[in-house]
């Protein structure tokens, strides 16, 4: 178990851990923004946007994440898009996760009665105002718990980036294996690191949920 504290392994491990955090955080923010946009598309009055949203979600939600990584890492350079492995990984992860966020939001939106949106529109609110001021805040409660599952899965999913030249946690595992350390010890530390991240995300959502619930019963 002490391998972490030998031969500069700790620095390697720490950098991998921070990389995973960074990749997860960036992808989470992008996925959330993308998910909101896609959900808005899927409930918008414009048919073309609805179709776009539906197609996007069905492609990205139903493709294995590894395939998406391959598509981004080998497809984009073919289109003369050359970015760092980290950015490629963030693109693949947020395109994938964003489609799940979209579906969670959309089902949340459907729990809010149509009358709420009609009342907002009657007051002269635009589609965007209706969504962000009236519908989404009310969808928030029913959305938080499934959304936490999506975001807890994200750091774990980010491990695939390790196989695509991003020096994150999973990549560290490969390096340490190559250095000949005991596989069990390596996996123990890597698994623990992922557990810590997932638990932290879970806790964050718990705090938000409690806050939202308290606001709703208050007054």
């Amino acid at each position: 178990m002490g391998i972490l504290f030998e031969h500069g392994n700790f620095t390697l491990f720490r950098d991998g851990f921070l990389r995973t955090l960074e990749l997860s955080a960036v992808s989470a923010v992008l996925a959330l923004l993308l998910g909101i946009l896609l959900a808005a598309f899927r409930v918008s009055p414009v048919p073309a946007l609805r179709v776009f949203g539906t197609v996007w979600v069905n492609i990205f939600r139903n493709t294995p994440l590894t395939l998406l990584f391959i598509a981004v890492n080998f497809g984009l350079p073919q289109l003369d898009v050359h970015l760092s492995p980290f950015v490629f990984a963030a693109i693949a992860l947020s395109a994938y996760t964003g489609s799940f966020v979209c579906e969670v939001l959309r089902s949340g939106i459907n729990t809010v009665s149509l009358g709420q949106a009609e009342a907002a529109r009657s007051l002269g609110m635009t589609f965007g105002q209706t969504l962000t001021l009236v519908v989404l805040p009310q969808a928030a409660r029913s959305v938080l718990s499934p959304l936490s599952s999506v975001f807890i899965a994200l750091p774990r999913n980010s491990a695939i980036a390790g196989a695509f030249s991003v020096p994150e946690l999973y990549n560290v595992q490969q390096t340490l294996s190559d250095r000949g350390y005991a596989i069990f010890a390596i996996f123990f530390w890597v698994a623990l690191a992922y557990l810590v991240i997932s638990a932290a995300v879970g806790l964050l959502f718990r705090v938000i949920e409690n806050r939202v619930n308290r606001l709703a019963v208050a007054r």
Binding site: S113, G115, A119, S122, L123, G124, M125, L133, Q138, R219
Partner: protein, 255 residues
């Protein structure tokens, strides 16, 4: 506006529907509707369930689109979906059968929100207006509660205040008292009566004959997507001309 001929002494129409048709699939819900509503007029829409009253009401702020015909508000045709339409919708207040107060906002916020976000009125001023309106509809004491904590009658009065806060040119009421317990109907009708007395232009879908008699200038009787009969409340309720209206009235009177 500049030339004044004797025929111009009548107020100009605020809402005009001409040749309006609408289908829901195969169902022809609105059939060749022609209707002019002048400033300050109170029009009651009455008719059997499914006759198209709600749909007619909702076409006036374009919550429902029409297949053919034109609708103008204060001389302007209703624009297509978008910013222009949103602006125009702010001019038309709507009160729903199921209140539809924003469930996550306090009573005060319900009345403030549209003013601030749509009319861009400064918050302090919007709150002042909101409190005055809540006072006027008799729910000022509930300002900081959530809608779910209010009775149906109180919620509907808040909904009226919310619509009034936009300073609308017309108010549409779609069966505003149908979801209320009987003892709460009057408190809402009272508010509507006072609005009518102050000269608000109103379209009211209701079966409350007392309200129609005391506040309406005109009753429109709808059946199967058409305006079948049109008269003063007194004449309509005492001597309906069409068989459909006679039949309908006998049913609601013996209810």
């Amino acid at each position: 506006m500049t030339e004044t001929t004797p025929s111009d002494s009548r107020p100009s129409p605020l809402v005009v529907l001409s040749g309006v048709n609408k289908h829901f699939g195969a169902l022809h819900v609105l059939q060749d509707i022609n209707l002019e509503i002048v400033q300050g007029e109170v029009v009651v829409l009455i008719g059997p369930s499914g006759s198209g009253k709600s749909t007619l009401c909702r076409t006036i702020n374009r919550l429902e689109t029409v297949d053919s015909g034109t609708i103008t508000l204060d001389g302007h045709p209703l624009p297509a979906e978008g910013k222009e339409l949103a602006k125009l919708r702010a001019e038309v207040g709507m009160v729903f059968q199921s209140f539809n107060l924003f469930a996550h906002k306090t009573v005060l916020e319900n009345v403030v929100l549209g003013q601030v976000k749509v009319r861009k009125i400064p918050r302090t001023q919007a709150e002042e207006t909101a409190r005055a309106l809540l006072e006027r509809v008799g729910v000022a004491a509930q300002a900081d509660k959530l809608p779910a904590q209010l009775s149906g009658g109180q919620q509907q009065r808040v909904a009226i205040a919310r619509a009034l806060a936009m300073n609308p040119k017309v108010m549409l009421f779609d069966e505003p008292t149908s979801a209320l317990d009987p003892e709460m109907i009057n408190e809402v009708l009272e508010v509507m009566r006072s609005l009518a007395a102050e000269g608000m232009t109103m379209v009211v879908v209701t079966h409350e004959m007392g309200f129609a008699r005391s506040a309406a200038n005109r009753v429109l009787f709808m059946a199967d997507g058409r305006i079948v009969e049109e008269n003063t409340p007194e004449a309509f309720f005492t001597a309906p001309r069409s068989d459909r209206a006679k039949d309908f009235l006998s049913k609601i009177l013996h209810h």
